[in-house]
Each structure stands twice: as C-alpha cells, then as structure tokens.
Subunit: 333 residues, 4 copies
C-alpha cells in the first residue's frame, strides 16, 4: 500500500511529520485535512483531523484524530515546564476520552509497549510502572472504592524477542479475559526530524498499526482487532541515520536558496530529485555499509524517564476525577 511504503521511506510515526512532508515547503492545504494549532508558553499543540480517504492517502496516515504536543525545551530538564506539559497533556487526554465515547466509568486497560532494557524503547514499560491502577480494588473490595476513581489496569507485555509472543497477542488475550471498555497504548516512536525526538508527544485515536513503533509489534492494536476503542500515545525517541542525513540535505537546500540564487550549482543533481528519491539514494549509500543505524540522543536515559513521568502523571489525572494537579504527585513517583 502506498501509505505504508511512503511512511516506511521516511520512517516516521508522527502524523505531523507526514503532513509536513505532504505539504512540502509551500505549506499547501490538503483537502480533507483539518488542522488547528495552539501555542502557549513554549508548548505547541497541533490537532489534526484526517477526515477522508483522500487526505489519508495524501499524508500517508489512516483516518483519525491526532494531537501533537511539541515542546522544544523539554530536553532541558526544567521541572516547571514538565508540570505544565503534564497539565496540557491531561486536558488533551480528557478531550480524547470524551470524543472516543469513553465515559467516567469506562474500564481502561493501559498497555506499555516496548523493552525496559533498551532505553529508547523503554517508554511504555516506564509509564506502566508509574500508573495508578485500581482494577484490583474494584474486583476485591468494590464497595470500598472511593468516588472519583475508575477501573484501570495496566500491562507491559514485553517484546517478541524476549517473550516469543507478539505483544498484540498478549494484549488480545488479556482483553478477552478482563473485558476493558477501552485501551490506551503507549509506545516509543521514530521521527524523521531530530528536533522532535524526545520533545514531542502524539496522541491518536487510531490505535497502534503494523510497522509503527521502534520494536517488533506486527499485528497492531486497533479497534477493529480488539473490539474496543484504542488510543495510542507515542513519543519519538529515535531517528534513522538516513533520515537525519536526508533532513540536513533538505535544510541545506533551503538554507542556500535563501543566500543565493545559484541553488542548482550548489546541490547539483540532489536538488532535482524528490525527497523520497533522495532518501532512497541516501539509504543506497548507507545500507551496504550496515550504517543505517537507529540512533538516539546520548542523554536518552534522562529524557525517557522525564517524559514517562509526564505521561503517567497526565494519565493518572485524566483517568481519575479524584486525582488532580494538586495531589497527583502522591500517586506518581
């Protein structure tokens, strides 16, 4: 399918990346795609609706609602900013739950995809470690549960290489047995743009699709497969070396174009070919040498921990009315 090939080519899991590529430098509008951008105090929230198949094909993303929080300064370790991001994320999650028809008493299963022992892939399991799960109280002592809490469970299914079982199979098995009303899946992603790595949170109502994420999660977690709404939360934690290179070549072209009108002579043939062709070229060079490594910033340990904390905090507040900005720290560590 064109969609997949194209996304594979650029190797991004972010709708905002795909949209920008489809628009090109000219920022042309795409029919069937609605976009709303809000900026506040260092946080840019972009809400994209992919409304029809044409728009889906144009940007290479399935139809659905995508929200992206971009926080360029998130890598600075500023705890004040982190708290504000958690608050915005809580608000967006509440909207999402409402739109997906997940009401205050719906039972939610949170799935932390990825591998705890590969730092850039550890986001999902780290979030799970910090969630406030309550299902056990509803099962064991239902009349003692205080108001303001819903039934939340959570699982980190591990990765195929460690378990021998597709994580989607594990999730499906648990869904069959515990019958949640909705799934929220958290996964580490790849981005085509280095500056979005570890600074961006994407929420989408489309679940997890085959080939997304940085690990091996082939079958996907979607409403079609699982039978309940499935919201996906993703954070790009890695880039392919080839996308970095391709990105810079693109940036150089833009950069020179501003300085000179002799573009052609600067970049030569590289300038004439389209982005995907150029990317193939970059890969053709990199792959025989075994270099198309997936890379991550060297401070990844701290970045992933900080973002996992933001997401866990936001989920705890969004899912339980009794948890809010004031007392959330008591539930998350």
């Amino acid at each position: 399918m064109t969609l997949d090939l194209q996304n594979y080519a650029v190797r991004t899991d972010l709708a905002i990346d795909s949209k920008e590529m489809a628009q090109g430098g000219q920022k042309q509008t795409i029919p069937g795609l609605r976009e709303d951008v809000e900026k506040k105090d260092g946080i840019t929230i972009t809400r994209i609706d992919v409304l029809d198949d044409a728009a889906a094909t144009a940007i290479g993303r399935v139809k659905g609602h995508y929200v992206t929080l971009e926080v360029p300064s998130l890598r600075n370790g500023d705890t004040d900013l982190q708290e504000r991001v958690a608050a915005e994320f809580t608000r967006e999650m509440e909207d999402f739950l409402a739109k997906a028809g997940i009401n205050k008493t719906s039972k939610v299963l949170i799935v932390g995809l990825g591998n705890l022992n590969v730092t850039p892939d550890s986001l999902g399991p780290l979030v799970v470690e910090n969630l406030m799960v309550t299902r056990q109280y509803f099962e064991l002592v239902p009349d003692q549960v205080a108001p303001g809490y819903r039934e939340v469970s959570a699982i980190a299914p591990g990765v195929l290489g460690t378990t021998g079982i597709e994580s989607s199979d594990i999730v499906q098995a648990i869904v069959d047995r515990t019958k949640p009303d909705a799934i929220i899946a958290i996964d580490a992603l790849a981005s085509r743009s280095l500056e979005r790595v570890n600074t961006t949170i994407q929420v989408a109502d489309i679940g997890i699709h085959p080939g997304s994420g940085i690990g091996n999660k082939r079958r996907g977690l979607t409403r079609e497969i699982l039978g309940v709404p499935c919201i996906a939360i993703g954070v790009p934690t890695v880039c392919y070396a080839s996308t970095i290179v391709n990105n810079v070549i693109e940036m150089m072209r833009t950069h020179f174009r501003q300085e000179t009108d002799q573009t052609k002579q600067i970049m030569g043939m590289l300038d004439d070919i389209g982005e995907n062709d150029r990317l193939s070229l970059v890969k053709e060079v990199l792959e025989p040498l075994g270099h198309d490594l997936i890379v991550t910033p060297k401070e990844i340990d701290e970045f992933v921990e900080d973002i996992a904390n933001i997401i866990a905090t936001g989920l705890n507040a969004a899912l339980h009315d009794a948890v809010n900005a004031e007392n959330v720290a008591a539930y998350t560590h």
Copy 2:
C-alpha cells in the same frame, strides 16, 4: 484447611522446611513420604515424594514430587560452583520434564512471577530476561528452525499492585491463546530458615498454590486450573522476622540441651510449648509493633542475579537439546 494454616504459621514455601518441622528434631519417618538425599561436592539434592493424603497432611504440603538443591556456599559468588549448580539443576529439570510427560517437542511457556523493582521479588522476571525463547521462529519461519530446539515462550506478568490484574489471570489468558503443552513458573519464596535463603532451589510438579510466594498471587497456577502440567521453580529470598526469632529460640533450646540437663530452667515456659504456639507468641509480640517485616540479606542484589542466571542457564540447557554446557553461555547473558 490444616495444611494452609500450618504453613502460614511457619511461613515457609519449602517442602524441605515443612518436612523437617513435621519430623521434629528426632527425624522420625513419615508414612507415605519417600525421601532420597544425594550429596556431591557442596550440593545436597533432596528428592521428596509426598505419596498420599496422610503424608500431605503430615507435612502440610500437597501430594507431588519435590526436588531441593541446597548449596550453602552459593552466597560466596564462586562462579565455578555456580556452573556446577547449573549443571545439576539442568539434570534435575530434565528428569522432571520426563516424569511430567513433557517430551522433546512439547511447547513450554515459562512464567516469571514477581516484581522487577523489588529486588528479593525480582527472581522470576530476571530469569525471563535471560531465557532463550523460540516460539516466534516456530510461528514465523517454522521450516528454518534448526533441530534440537523446542517451542519456548516466556512472560513476566507483573504483580497485582502494578497491573491491577492477578498474575494467574494473565497467565490463564495467555495459555488460552497460545496453547502451550506445559508451564514452568518461577517465583521467589519465603523460607523459615535463614540459611536456606538464597542458597536453595526447589523444583516441584505441583504448580504455584494460593498463598505461596512472597507477593500477591492468590489464584494459583496448577494443572487443575490451567489444564496443562505446571512445574514450579522457587528460591527462598526472604524470611519473616518472626521465623528468624522462632528459629533461634529453637536453636538455643537444642544448643543448651547439649550443654546441660537443666533445660527447663533455661528456657522456662518457652520450652514447654509447641513450635507453632511459640511462633504465635513471637508474632503476638512482634505484630502490634508492626515489626513482622519480611527481611532479606543485604547482598540480595547480587544473590538474586546469580541465582537467576543459574536457573536461566539450566532451563536453556534442559529445554533445548542443541544447547549444552559448552555453548550455553552464548544463549544466556
């Protein structure tokens, strides 16, 4: 049931502890219980068969086959000894599999119970991290699997406090979906004797029973519940403070009896009462003060890691004919 109460009273998960308590100091024989002890070079292997209900009641353990490897020097970090223990453990596992009717092609699911973030409870998840799983190859590229391997999968289901779901429910769900022929469950245990903590491996064909283990795994993993044979591997990593105290009082009584015939006057009333009454007494003192802590040796990090490695090494060798003492390091790290 008497069995459970008694075992609760002494808080041990080791059949060898229960047997010794039932025998008392005099080492009397118990009808319906067959025992075989083999000693080699620092390793004592005790094979106990609880053959009938009377024996089960007598020692407070369900009927079944129990093998215990006791290695008093295991806490010294001697890698030579560790390799020999892994080799003995492999042999015992192979016997167990054969006796349980698990043949060379039976599909095995290994379950690592416990919590990775609580060191003394992390044994199961640590073993899972070092297993050689193969189910994915049998599923995806069945004709490319070399001879000498069987289908092995593994899961660390987490604990109730983190997932909100009983680990037995998670295992049951995965068993229903992936249809293994046998289960091997690994769990950290409590022992009544401090010297067995982190020096003992117990294997039993009885699965995991309610109340066993040091975490919350209420429903149990047994052949009756899961429908397939379930072998349990356990290592005591903790003791209750009360059992330490009780143990020492017992040791003091024995000690003094050897030195004097005035026992009564030394221990007073403590000497007249039975072990369980005395233990209740110790707890009566400890619990109001909130002291009946579960304790573990301070070097627990290293101890658990070493034993997890021995078990993973042994399982890899016992389950795959192609893996043996020479090449096992290549599969385990």
Copy 3:
C-alpha cells in the same frame, strides 16, 4: 575500649539506640546527657547532647550533638509525609550548620559513602546523584554565580572492595586538594531495632567513626583527621539477625511481665542474664551456623530511594539560601 565493644555487641550506629540501652527499661536519667524530644504530626525529633566523658562512656558514644528524626510511617510511601520530613530535616540541618560554625559562604564537600550496587548500602551514592553541586561555577565563572548559592561539591568514593582504596583516604586526598571548609558525610547504618530501619535519620557533629556504617570504612572521617568540621548523616537500613532475635526476647520478657507475675518460669535463665550476655548467647548460637546475616526489609529498593530523595532535597535547601521549599523540586529529581 569499652565504648566500641559495647556498640559492637549491640551492633547499632544510632545514639538513640545506645541511649535507650544505657537507660534500660526504667528510662533512668544519665548524668552529662541532655535530651530534648519534640513531636509533630508523625515525626519525633530527639536532640541529644553527650556533654562529658562520663556520659560518653555511659552510652558508648563519643561526645557531641546528635539529632534523630523518627518517622514510623515513612515506609508507607506517603509523598506528603516525605515532604514534611524533608522540611524538618532542612531546619535541623540549618541549625547544625550554624552550631558547627559553618556559615553561609563556607565551602562544603558532601561525601556519599557506600556501594551503589548493594541496595541497602547505596544511600550515600544515591544522595550524591541528586545534589545540587556548584563548585564548578565558582571555579570557572565566579562572577556569574547568582547570590544565594554557596560552593558545594560532592563525591561518592566507592568501597574498599571495588576501589582497593579506603574511602577515608580518597576523601582525605580530595580535601587536601579542594580545601573545603566543612564535610557532610552520608552513610547507611545498622540499627538494633527493626522498627527504626528505614524510618530514622540521624545527624551528628561527630563525623564518621571507625567501625560505623555497614561497609568497610575503617579509618573514619572526623574533624581530628580531616581538619575541618565533619557532620554525619546516617539512616539505618539494616539489622543484624542476632539483634532482631535479642530484641524480640527482650520484648517478650516485657510483654509477659505485664500479663503474669510468673516471669521467671516463662523465660527461665534468659531472664536472669543481662542484655549483652543474652546477645552473646544468641550470637553463640547463630554464628557457628553462619547465620548472623545482616538483613534488610524486602522493600529496600523503594525505601532507600525515598529517603535519599528526602536527604538530597533537605541538603539542597539547607545549603543554598536561593533554594527553598517552593523551588527545591526544580533542583532535585
């Protein structure tokens, strides 16, 4: 020396333990020892001054000022309580610094003793990881340092078994080179009472003495040795099995005495002998069997992390005027 033997016998590093033992059950006053106890909302602060040699001999502690914060509920993981403890600890540290003549511009070197890889011994290194060090700015860009900060450096010297060098030698070397005005040393301790483990913080102006702490730090860090004031912060994270047993026997005696007047017959000879003799007896029983393990509660990972965070937070606030309760989170993670 009597002092050392006695403290060795009971194996405690807490002055409050030593004082209680010297007082016996009757809580008799000890000449030369001044004590002040303040209780607020779940925190008991005991300030002890050992004023003369007689008092020092009586309780088996060197002369000096000792403050103990006891927080029995600290093991419950309540973040509100943790914040209040950090605030009280900050206040006590500020008093200590003032009393020790360490003024607002004195340069402080913080020493985190212990081994990061042995959880109950990891307190010191964990605190160091969360401190706000500033010495580098005073060295490199002195005119850009904002007011309200002092020069703070920190070191985790490791343990003898890993470095081959006494940690006191490493500290001495760094003191000689960097010339701090005062030392604050953090170490994990042993307590004789299980309920004080992981619930108690001791601050003392006496430095670290040979044989204290749970690792191998023979030479000590004291004003006499290092030439500058040395404040010691300690948290008991372990108990000896023998002290647990001895403790319970003592508790049983007290317990029975309340219920009956037949004490003698209950405990027999155990009742007639003094605490130290009884302890020797307990050890005589335990040691030949190699059981006198140092034990720690099984939840030690979380306990140590929480307390390390409290101490780092408190030190950051006590040492820098610009850091206070409101913004301290921004400096500590």
Copy 4:
C-alpha cells in the same frame, strides 16, 4: 592550536579516523607515521606510531603509540567473538605495559571516566565495577597475597556536573596520596564514523587530553601532569549528528564517482569544497536549529555492557599473571 581545531572540526577521538582524514581517499603515506595492520578472524588490529611533530601536525594527534582493535561484528552480541576480542585486547595491553616500562610489580591505578547514569558515557564506571582490585590486600595483609598478582586500585571519579570537581583533580589527588606507578584511564569517545561506534577499542600511551571524551574532562590525564605513565583506553560510543551527515555526503560523492563521470553536476558546489569547509557548512545549518545532537545507537545499553566486560576481562588478565583465559570468568562478572 591547529591540532585541536582540526580534531574539533571532525569531532573524533580516534587516531585512525584522523589518519584516514589526513590521508584522504588516496591513502597517501604520511612521513613520520608508521602503521602496521593485522587482520585475524573478524578483528583488525591497527598499530600506529606518530613518530615526530610533523606527523602529529599532519594527522592532528599528539606523538605516541596508538593501537586500534576494529571488530565490525561486535554489535551482534556473539559471546565467542567477545572472548576472542578480550584475548587480543589482553595481548595488546601486555605489549603496551611492557613498552611503557610498566613491569610485573608496578602499581596500577585504573580510572573509569564518565557518568554511570548516561548510558553512552558509562563505559569507564562499568569497567571499574568489574575489575579485580588488590591494593587493599597489599596494604592490609601483604604477606598473604599469592604470587601472580600486582597492586591494582580503581576509581570512578564521576563527572563535573555531579561532583563539582574536575575528574582530573580527583585523580591527581588520589595519585598524590596513593602513589601508583602507572595510570590506565578508560573513557567513552566520539567517532566521526558511525560504523566504528561500539565496534572499536583504541589504546594509546598518550593519556587523556583536554577536549577528548564525550564529557567534561578539561584538564587531562597525562604523564606530564600526573608524573607517571598514563595509558588511555577508549571506545567510541557516540557520533555527532553533523559528522554522520558529513560522512554520508562524502560517501555519496565516492559512490557517484564510481557510477558516473558527471560528479560535479551531482553534488554541485558541495563537491568543490574541502571536507572541513563542508563540515562547517553542515554545522552552520544544524546548529541554529539546536540539532547537532550527540547520538548513539538505540541498543547502546547492551553494547556498552558487552564492551565494558571485554575491557575488564582483558585488564584483569593483562595485569595479573595469575589470571588467564581459563579462570578470568571467576574474577569478572
């Protein structure tokens, strides 16, 4: 100094990188530089002697002896290969020690530079954790030390941001106090070539120079500063995004040149400028956007652990005659 600027420009810490750049694509010989390449079974050992100042200037490296082990397959996690690399590394280290005049009884201090909490910078501290240190035995029980051991101590001094003290100051302080005869310093490096990251070990007799390594170790550890020979062991664990891009552009140029003779038109102006100018250009584009991240492969956790183990194993065998290929596992974990 030209040297530094040039090395900064390409941001590499590997002499082999510098040499290749100085040679250009034509592999021209450089006067004053002696090179010897040995290939065996997947391991390429390159021994470079920078004999005079002219050669030093030519390649931008100080005079000295450099050995590089390149093992392209090291990232595959093959334990057999790891053992062979450890054996080759042992041999090279033994040569190095002999050449540097460090005899069998010389006292060695091993310094593990870097930050344990930043995975790509954790190589040094990880090696230290696995070394066999013996100095304490020579100090405490000198007549009980078996033959075949020398006096080895080790320190992980931490990083400036955590300690507030330059690591070179900490090392100098410890050298002054413990008087070793030689230093071996281990550090994580940056490479200009992605394929050398985590596959290469460099040993050099030049110590650690200002600006080398991926952290802040400004003052350097050299024979001139410390007064004793200082051998540096380094492994590139990171790349700058800019060097990846630059590298690929270079590779594209080579690639196209083979396919076509219209090179100019393909790469345009990029082709006419020298490598350093092109790199400046790449940086000019990347830096304003804050993108010149230091990146590392996503599997860095496992890669660093494996290589740290190889180095520790090799050092233990090279430093102690009594430790060899057969028993080295008993000393390293």
